[in-house]
Symmetry: C3
Subunit: 191 residues, 3 copies
Amino acid sequence: MTLVAILTVSDRASRGDYEDLGGPATESWLRAAIASPFECLRRTVSDGVESVGDALVALCDRDNADLVLTTGGTGPSPRDLTPEAMRKIVTKELPGFGELMRQASLAKVPTAILSRQTAGIRGRTLVINLPGKPSAIDVCLHAVFPAVPYCLDLIGAGRIETDPAVCPSFRPAFLDVHRFSASKASSHAGG
Amino acid sequence: MTLVAILTVSDRASRGDYEDLGGPATESWLRAAIASPFECLRRTVSDGVESVGDALVALCDRDNADLVLTTGGTGPSPRDLTPEAMRKIVTKELPGFGELMRQASLAKVPTAILSRQTAGIRGRTLVINLPGKPSAIDVCLHAVFPAVPYCLDLIGAGRIETDPAVCPSFRPAFLDVHRFSASKASSHAGG
Amino acid sequence: MTLVAILTVSDRASRGDYEDLGGPATESWLRAAIASPFECLRRTVSDGVESVGDALVALCDRDNADLVLTTGGTGPSPRDLTPEAMRKIVTKELPGFGELMRQASLAKVPTAILSRQTAGIRGRTLVINLPGKPSAIDVCLHAVFPAVPYCLDLIGAGRIETDPAVCPSFRPAFLDVHRFSASKASSHAGG
């Protein structure tokens, strides 16, 4: 079954000083938007390049998550190190995710440009950074999730179907053509 | 004479399993948009950091191309390695090209954010990554080509004039002022 | 008192061959937009990774500037090396600044995509690259400055208040909540 992992990144939430709001908000959004069967795993980790990097590697390589969503740690503060951890563990960065999340968030708050969110691929896992605040998570997921199911197809991860009333997703027609002819669609990726 | 090279990046096209559509589509677009004399060179190479990097270096350093357009290999699939090859051989990356190509493509398909297209400079050559699909190539070239002639001026590459009915290009007025005074316009580059 | 430094990057201006227009334009903009007390320091340096990097390190580490604005050297020309110098001396890059400056400038000129402007953080200093041309500086500062005061708060730099009639700035409400409770707002940064 498709496995989606949510990683809350926060010093305070990991110490129990603070109730994690980002993790539950992300899970609620996914439960409303994904129409196909999936399992959801939730973890919490303190800020830091090593702590976040180790947690991401475990979710990708040991738990074989198809999709990992992080929440928190993407701002300019000294302890915000999620993007640095990401870059160390992904083999490909997908800059379009961060660009679109910042653009969608800019329509709400001018401080959206302070977010350093990105996305990337490790093996058969897509990793996307989300902000920590529930309202911002909602804006970001609405913006980028339509491209997620097709991205998972292209990297050989589990298949996801979305509820079009909540989040219409998109698979270009030519992918299916190549599937029928049993040839790899990889050379068409992204365009 | 100004030399424009088109590099098709595709395992299947390089094996002859698949008719290259991106290369001819790119050449057709250029023949319609460029009004000044130019020569067009077409090559095909398999996906891969080394294969694409070597082909780009040859086009830049040996063939002295003024402009190189790649097509294909920019998505998230394991064999999509064109941006990785690019980053190894350019001395400067121009992130605005990829940002604008993704933004223009987003108006057509939500999966545009999966494209990792970028552009960069090697010596006196501008290299731009295009997608593989002809309709997406058209969208991307329309978006970024208006800035290409001035960029070639700034890096000392050959001069290009476009047909304003197809693709209006733009050269800021102050460049010409500095030309008349025979001084370098470099410190004004990009704005 | 809050210290803002303006670094003009230009071979010709540093030799005195050319009157620096970018530095004064940046200072005028700041004097109109910032309503709280601040000191303004102006320097000029020649293009180059080392010259610009050394000047930036001195402004951040020796002069303890809260905000450094560079002007010039961000284009594609061989001597445009400001972003390369930036990347060597910042510990965090904030890609949203460059994206938004290019997007705002694109509404004026299609060559905006040639600019490689970025922003980043070194210790308690925010560094932002601006173009060299006064009209482009104005467009870029209007676009990104609303997020600057909150960014300075998050990195522990000096407080800035803006004149809302010139440049409305924005501090998310939850920051103040955390301030009253004397806890760090860092895990909320950027969203």
